[in-house]
């Protein structure tokens, strides 16, 4: 085996197929987007691209629509981080107690994750329909809370949070599984020793359990931040960025600028922003969550 490892040519040969696919389908489009962001093009084949330097970035940063989309995506990230982590890991802790009948709940809670996101978005859209058409408004009617009824997806005050809640529903099961796997990996001996030392309940959770699953939580945080940052489908299906642009996030704005308004350069500039912001937020998260690894 060592003989193979020492032969760099063979190592490179085995790596080549995966490398070609990765470069072709991931690296090349990223580089191309960066290049496009310095040009203006109207989307017509044969029409040359015009080099405009940093103009697209200038237009992007001067646009009120863009800053609204940034504010929206930060709100979307915050809601998803808080609720998906709390619900996902909370359920994982409960399910890890392995009480009779708990197994079925693992499947039930994970079920929304395997549903196609478009179908889930449409399902929630039906729930949020206005007047007495939507299930939520019908429910509020039935329990005497008519005053809370609204057009959930057309009210600018509720639309983004309504979409965020739908997204939390689709994703918390995933983090529950990550959390559950991390909890299952904690040796029983450590938990028993901590109990002998007098650590139970919250003390045990914060001093033993949490440090032990910290690395998994870090993964969840990074996945949630980068996933929310590039989220497109659920917002596009439920609100299309509306009403009147109130729920646009950078990814939906990028789609509209490039593919509807033929501003391919500006669209590319927004995609570069998403890329850089995702990297920065992920890096920041990893840095903030860095702590000495726990070994047992």
């Amino acid at each position: 085996m060592d003989q193979y490892y020492s032969n760099k040519r063979i190592v490179l040969l085995f790596l080549l197929p995966a490398l070609v696919i990765y470069v072709g389908l991931a690296v090349y489009p990223i580089v191309q987007s960066i290049v496009f962001s310095f040009y203006e093009w109207n989307g017509l084949q044969g029409v040359p691209m015009e080099y405009v330097g940093m103009n697209n970035f200038g237009s992007m940063f001067r646009s009120a629509k863009f800053w609204l989309s940034v504010k929206n995506v930060l709100q979307f990230i915050a809601v998803n981080l808080i609720f998906q982590i709390i619900i996902g890991y909370g359920l994982a802790v409960l399910l890890a107690q392995n009480r009779p009948g708990f197994k079925i709940f693992k499947t039930i809670f994970f079920f929304p994750v395997v549903l196609p996101l478009t179908a889930t978005a449409l399902l929630w859209k039906f729930i949020y329909f206005p007047n007495n058409i939507g299930v939520l408004n019908q429910l509020l009617n039935a329990i005497g809370l008519e005053s809370l009824k609204t057009g959930w997806l057309i009210n600018t005050k509720t639309a983004l949070n309504a979409v965020s809640i739908a997204n939390v529903w689709t994703g918390f099961g995933y983090h529950m599984v990550i959390g559950f796997a991390a909890l299952s990996a904690i040796p029983d001996g450590i938990m028993e020793s901590s109990m002998i030392d007098g650590a139970t309940g919250f003390r045990q959770f914060f001093s033993i359990t949490l440090p032990m699953i910290w690395e998994s939580m870090k993964i969840s945080f990074v996945l949630l931040i980068t996933g929310s940052m590039k989220n497109f489908d659920i917002i596009f299906v439920m609100t299309e960025g509306g009403p009147n642009g109130a729920t646009h996030v950078p990814s939906t704005l990028m789609y509209y600028e490039a593919f509807k308004y033929d501003h391919y350069g500006l669209g590319s500039a927004i995609s570069v922003f998403i890329f850089v912001a995702s990297l920065a937020l992920a890096g920041l998260t990893i840095r903030l969550m860095r702590r000495e690894s726990v070994e047992y």
């Binding site: 109207n42 989307g43 017509l44 084949q45 044969g46 029409v47 949020y128 329909f129 206005p130 007047n131 058409i133 057009g151 959930w152 997806l153 057309i154 009210n155 600018t156 509306g242 009403p243 009147n244 642009g245 509209y256 593919f259 509807k260 308004y261 033929d262 501003h263």
Partner: protein, 429 residues
């Protein structure tokens, strides 16, 4: 060695034979991209038309890549254009938005087809005028219209009778009184499915042209008028006023087009502002249990000069630019035969759509009242225009105008709505 040569010679002969046959059987392929697919009422008609066209032209193969859903259609079209794989025949809504395609030679100047007098002279007068881009600085005519689509009000005649109207109100003043009476009876006058923003965009088109005249659309596109002009703001204010009075269903911004149709067909709303294409939807319902009639949108008494201003949306096919030989012949034949007298007569008879030609043979066609109503509106039109943004070369105007109109229904003032639209123009074009 000799045997080997014999085998090789046989193989070569066989190969020549096969390629010869292949060449002999090679068909000219043309691609068409329309919105007529899936559940669209015209989808089956198009499929049959293609089959019959291929029978008449055995050397032509038609690839139908039509998509009904708007966003998917736009994505597909833009991808095809960006990669240079433009369909031979395609539908592209708008007028001014076609100019950049014409400027870059991507669509064909169809005025060369006008030499065929039998085909050309049968079109309604002025049918090609919208697509003459001389006003945009591009010589030529760049699309072939395939249907006439006037828009007005389809209404539940039984409901209107119940509140005392045998005929549809002609003026806006009467219309307001009529809608008040409908509300008193507990009927919702309109339930536009404004989640699909074009539904309220179309309502505004009616009010804009009845208040300002159809020329306002071209003036806005040519930048000789502004959205913040007093008369344009007033046209927005009329729509806002209709919404505030409850003539539009509460929270209509969250209703879909399907909901709008269901509400009309189940008598939960009294009217729907729609084009002649809606006749197909009504026919598809079968027995409705109430009478539906069609009328022109009422006019403002103080703007009687705009009484005949009619909204008519362009229904047109563009042909790919730079075609030659068999591809050109097949594409032109496809479009000319579809828009020719025989097929237009047939599509009128089978689908109840309004023909774009004046030489239709109506004998043997059972024309219903809705069809005649649409024809009346068209015949009484003194001027026509499509969507207000059809005349604007800024691609974003379709979304920006409609989104801001929805925003106005959700609380913004007409002035804020007009300013937001004008800001888009001032920033981008």
């Amino acid at each position: 060695m000799f045997k080997m040569r014999k085998v090789l010679a046989c193989l070569m002969m066989f190969a020549l034979l096969v390629t010869g046959v292949a060449f002999a059987e090679a068909k000219t392929e043309i691609t068409i991209l329309t919105r007529w697919s899936g559940s669209d009422p015209m989808a089956d008609y198009l499929d049959n038309y293609i089959l019959e066209f291929e029978e008449r032209h055995p050397d032509v193969k038609v690839n139908n890549i039509s998509i009904n859903e708007e966003a998917s259609y736009n994505n597909k079209f833009k991808t095809l254009v960006a990669t240079g794989d433009i369909p031979n025949v395609f539908y592209l809504p708008g007028i001014a938005s076609l100019v950049k395609y014409a400027e870059n030679g991507l669509i064909m100047d169809v005025s060369v087809l006008f030499e065929d007098g039998e085909w050309y002279n049968g079109f309604l007068d002025g049918a090609f005028d919208m697509f003459d881009f001389a006003t945009y600085g591009v010589e030529g005519v760049y699309a072939v219209p395939f249907a006439a689509t006037p828009e007005g009000v389809f209404y539940n005649a039984d409901m209107l009778k119940e509140v005392g109207y045998e005929a549809f109100p002609e003026t806006m003043e009467e219309f307001y009184v009529c809608m008040d009476k409908l509300l008193e009876k507990g009927y919702v006058p309109f339930a536009p499915g404004a989640a699909e923003t074009w539904r309220v965009g179309h309502l505004h088109n009616q009010l804009l042209y009845k208040w300002c005249g159809t020329s306002k659309a071209t003036e806005l596109g040519a930048r000789t008028a502004k959205w913040t002009d007093e008369d344009v703001v007033q046209s927005l204010a009329w729509l806002k006023d209709m919404n505030d009075r409850g003539y539009l269903m509460e929270n209509c911004a969250g209703l879909t087009l399907d909901m709008e149709k269901t509400m009309f067909f189940t008598q939960q709303s009294a009217m729907t502002c729609n084009g002649s294409w809606f006749i197909g939807d009504i026919t598809a319902q079968g027995e409705l249990g109430f009478d539906v009639a069609f009328a022109a949108w009422p006019y403002f008494t103080e703007r009687e000069e705009n009484k005949g201003a009619v909204v008519q949306y362009p229904q047109n096919w563009c042909l790919k630019g730079g075609m030659e030989g068999a591809e050109y012949d097949a594409t032109v034949a496809f479009v000319k035969e579809y828009t020719g007298r025989d097929n237009q007569t047939r599509v009128t008879a089978e689908k109840g759509t309004l023909p774009i030609r004046k030489d239709i043979d109506y004998s043997g066609i059972e024309l219903n009242d809705l069809f005649m109503g649409c024809m009346d509106v068209l015949n009484n039109a003194t001027s026509q225009a499509g969507d207000s943004f059809d005349y604007d070369q800024l691609s974003s105007m379709q979304d920006v105008t409609r989104n801001n109109i929805v925003g106005m229904l959700l609380g913004n003032t007409p002035e804020e709505c007009a300013k937001a639209i004008q800001d888009e123009i001032d920033t981008n074009g």
